[in-house]
């Protein structure tokens, strides 16, 4: 079990790191395009959401994790052409097709999880679980940070 604990390392940095990265990306966003009209609200929402994800990936250690690497790569690709920041269909590898024949129920559920976790398309199932654990930790941390911001800014 000690070796297993060594394998599954899902240490997440402190909340400050997430907050720092998020605020930095927000300020960068502000510098790039100062908002003007409320018509662009959807655009702004999308931008902030993307900033949240990208800052989360950066705070989680940049390219040290598979999901953060995939997320950053996708964000870089999206920067060139402005498209909506949504989930993408990942290519189906032969490994996955083979594993689909093994345990249909679990693999079917893992398939849905692969679509949720960025970069999950190429992962093996056990690796997917590990990345999901780390991703969940980071997501909850990011949610906390954003909640803090919103609570601080929201009117009494």
């Amino acid at each position: 079990m000690a070796s297993a604990d060594k394998l599954i390392n899902t240490d997440v940095p402190e909340k400050d790191v997430f907050a720092f990265h998020f605020l930095q990306s927000l300020s960068n966003l502000r510098k790039q395009n100062p908002f003007d009209t409320p018509d662009q609200k959807n655009y702004r929402v999308r931008k902030i959401k993307k900033a949240a994800y990208v800052s989360m990936a950066r705070a989680a250690g940049g390219s040290s994790r598979l999901w953060s690497r995939a997320l950053l790569r996708r964000a870089d690709k999206d920067d060139n052409k402005i498209v909506r920041f949504s989930r993408r269909k990942w290519k189906i590898s032969s490994k996955r097709r083979r594993s689909n024949q093994r345990a249909p129920v679990v693999e079917e559920a893992a398939e849905r999880l692969r679509n949720l976790v960025p970069g999950g398309g190429g992962m093996e199932t056990s690796k997917l679980m590990e990345e999901t654990a780390h991703y969940i930790k980071c997501l909850s941390m990011q949610v906390k940070v954003m909640q803090c911001l919103v609570d601080g800014l929201s009117p009494k």
Partner: protein, 390 residues
């Protein structure tokens, strides 16, 4: 060199008629490539340049348009001059042997490929000086068997090697096949192997069979030994993989709230998926809210950053933010956000007050409520779903 000369003399005795037929002065007139190569090796024995030999043989082979032969030739003459010398020698022998064969059987494409097959085989063999005659005789037998087509000829080389290897490789193949048969047949197979093999090899066999099961016993405690012995490597790997997955599932179970009560992998995965989705929805929702309060954030972000990066964020957040409430005009602009915000602040209760110490548990309670009860958070979820544009 003396040995080679001896063999050359023997070969000349065997096939002396073609030499007379085709004098070496006009190399391009040779109608058959066999003749060409034969004569070229004679040239080489007479002390001519090696590279010209290679070139002329290449041209001679171009006469009978077989691309396979070109490939053989290119591979056959590397830059090493010693190797070229040897190859030329053996092509001579092969050619002489070919002449014999030509008298026996009809001259055709299979024979020519056989020539080059032999050329490549001989330098790779360990016997270089005393070998060619016996090897040539072997090849004569081979060609008499495999004279039908090119494919059978080219595969004849492999068969020759297998025959050289002897019975060990065939035993290896059969043992590989036996492992795949199954556990029912395995005991009988073991008995047969005891009969067949010598006691030392039998001991090796049993040792190699015992090793993986032992390592598996050490690694995984609840692995059944009888089953582990019976299954092949594929099912063992499959079991290891399943072990890994369930281990990580346990790890995930601790992370996701409300997942510990659930039994069954599929349900647990569903729970995890729901949790991830809810977290992503939350981020979307919160980014919406942040975009609503965006303008105010603009003013004091730099100072906030400077303070936030240095100090611990949790206590400083509310105090900083309390100073920069949005103006009333902006609130009227984003009036539709009001109920959401109020409901959120209502839901999160004393979030701000508890931020310093109990934020984590509070947040988990919130998410828990989202998952379990679904009464109060329904409001939040529905508003989020309504407002969120994909």
């Amino acid at each position: 060199m003396s040995d080679k000369d001896e063999f050359a003399a023997k070969k000349k005795d065997l096939v002396n008629t073609p030499v007379d037929l085709y004098p070496p002065e006009n190399p391009m007139l040779g109608p058959s490539p066999m003749m060409d190569s034969f004569r070229e090796t004679l040239w080489h024995d007479g002390g001519f340049n090696v590279h010209t030999d290679a070139d002329t043989s290449f041209r001679g082979n171009n006469n009978i348009d077989i691309p396979l032969e070109m490939g053989w030739n290119m591979a056959q003459f590397p830059a090493d001059s010693g190797f070229i010398e040897r190859a030329a020698k053996f092509s001579f022998f092969g050619c002489g042997e070919m002449m014999m064969n030509q008298q026996q059987s009809s001259l055709g494409v299979p024979d020519s490929t056989g020539l080059f097959l032999q050329d490549t085989q001989i330098p790779s063999g360990s016997k270089l000086d005393n070998g060619p005659l016996t090897d040539a005789s072997k090849l004569v037998k081979e060609r008499s068997i495999n004279n039908v087509s090119e494919d059978s000829q080219s595969s004849g080389g492999n068969g020759h090697d297998d025959a050289k290897c002897g019975q060990t490789s065939s035993k290896g193949f059969s043992s590989k096949k036996r492992k795949r048969i199954g556990k029912d047949c395995e005991e009988e197979e073991d008995k047969k192997q005891k009969d067949e093999q010598s006691p030392t090899s039998n001991a090796n066999k049993t040792n190699s069979e015992k090793q993986p099961s032992d390592s598996l016993k050490d690694g995984y405690i609840h692995m059944r030994a009888r089953r582990g012995q019976a299954t092949n490597s594929h099912s063992l790997a499959e079991r290891v993989r399943r072990e890994k997955i369930s281990e990580r599932m346990k790890f995930l179970q601790d992370l996701v709230p409300g997942c510990d009560k659930v039994t069954g992998k599929a349900v647990m995965l569903d729970e995890i998926i729901n949790y991830v989705q809810s977290l992503q929805c939350q981020i979307e929702f919160l980014s919406m809210k942040l975009s609503a309060v965006n303008p105010v954030l603009d003013f004091n972000l730099e100072s906030l950053l400077a303070k936030d990066a240095l100090q611990s964020s949790a206590p400083t957040f509310p105090h900083n933010m309390s100073m920069l409430y949005p103006p009333v005009s902006y609130l009227s602009q984003t009036g539709f956000m009001q109920p959401n915000i109020s409901s959120m602040s209502l839901l999160s209760g004393g979030l701000k007050r508890q931020e310093t110490h109990g934020y984590e548990s509070d947040h988990h309670n919130l998410v828990h409520m989202n998952h379990e009860t679904g009464t109060a958070p329904d409001h939040e979820d529905t508003t989020a779903d309504m407002k969120v544009e994909p």
